[in-house]
Symmetry: C2
Subunit: 226 residues, 2 copies
């Protein structure tokens, strides 16, 4: 239950339908493309050939590009509805008495979402920040749930939504890297959740000395030949 919040957001209030009216045939083509994309992405993964999608939709390749100028755009549009569903689920989870458990369940749902198409996770970062209504809704709901869980002291505080997106991306990508061993995703999610639980139990000053070079050491490697 989301009560009174009058946040001055001002952005991205547009419906799921066309922002401006499309001609009848164009509208039909758009929907055929979305349906075909969903099918083909499901069958062949998110890197399926664009022409396959156009063919499946029964339109020319040019029509596809007219409606969706990039593959990302098509992906985003195809995933919109699922994002809305994820947002709804997340919102309902926010009402849970145990925000920590709710967040855990959210993580699982998010991973499931990211797994709808093989290879979707690769673009998840981009897709999730594309600013469509579905993205915004899911993003806001997730942020809220995370804050609740952190405020309740059930999830560690040094984690932000971007980290979570990274986690989900990573778990999903990683699980797809290997032959589909079904238990693995759950195991990884569970392990991750345990890791996210607050407080981080300190068994000494471990992990404090993690070497922290983001870019470095190519010069050292480059000098190997001589």
């Amino acid at each position: 239950m989301s009560s009174a919040r009058s946040t001055p957001k001002a952005v991205s209030v547009h419906s799921n339908e066309a922002p401006r009216p499309l001609r009848a045939d164009a509208r039909r083509n758009r929907e055929r493309l979305l349906a075909a994309a969903d099918e083909v992405f499901t069958e062949r993964g998110a890197e399926a050939a664009m022409e396959d999608i156009a063919r499946r939709a029964g339109v020319g390749i040019g029509t596809l590009y007219r409606h969706f100028p990039t593959r990302e755009a098509l992906l985003v549009a195809t995933v919109e509805e699922q994002l809305h569903a994820l947002a709804r689920k997340t919102q309902s989870l926010a009402a849970s008495p145990s925000p920590g458990d709710a967040f855990a369940e959210f993580l699982g749902a998010f991973v499931e979402h990211a797994s709808t198409y093989r290879g979707l996770a690769t673009s998840l970062g981009v897709v999730f920040q594309s600013g469509t209504p579905g993205c915004t809704a899911a993003s806001e709901a997730a942020t809220r749930l995370l804050s609740l869980a952190q405020a309740a002291g059930e999830i560690r505080g040094d984690i932000d939504l971007d980290d979570v997106v990274c986690l989900v991306t990573g778990i999903t990508l990683a699980a797809q890297q290997t032959p589909p061993e079904p238990g693995r995703v759950q195991r990884l999610v569970r392990a991750f959740i345990e890791g996210l639980r607050a407080p981080a139990p300190s068994k000494g000053a471990r992990a404090a000395q993690d070497d922290a070079r983001p870019g470095g050491s190519r010069a050292a490697r480059a000098s190997r030949a001589s």
Copy 2:
């Protein structure tokens, strides 16, 4: 396993050098290709154009394919030395008095390895199972370290090496998905390590591990930690 030769486990004992002698020019080309690949992969990521590598090496594209019939093969060969280094580091870590901390450090090193080229992590699963000496060495050392940490009760038992490879792949891929925020990798690694710690603590039992820590407001501390 058709062991036409005598030694039963003889497979992986061969030097880093050529398995069979190469003509002088071929040998030189091979090394030029490896050096060029390292440079180009570093600059442009693991999906760099093969022709760029050939050009950088000063050889024809056909020569590249003669030596390395697939991109994976070239990647694997380029990464061999680093894998040996990782294996050595892992072996030395196995002597640590705290297998759990040692494993944590190994995870960090593994992630760093997987980050040497942008996009390497995508192929990490394949690369890591390619059966080269470096892979085998690193893989065996890692398995041993993991077993030690599990036997010591410091890492949860329901995790295998494939899971770890997945974790590393995931963390690395995920961190590359987002703009390079340097703290993120360490944060994710640390969170993951906490998750891997055994036993998976129940919410009530967790405090027991936190033995002599004074100051009970853990959530408050966690929320501002960086």
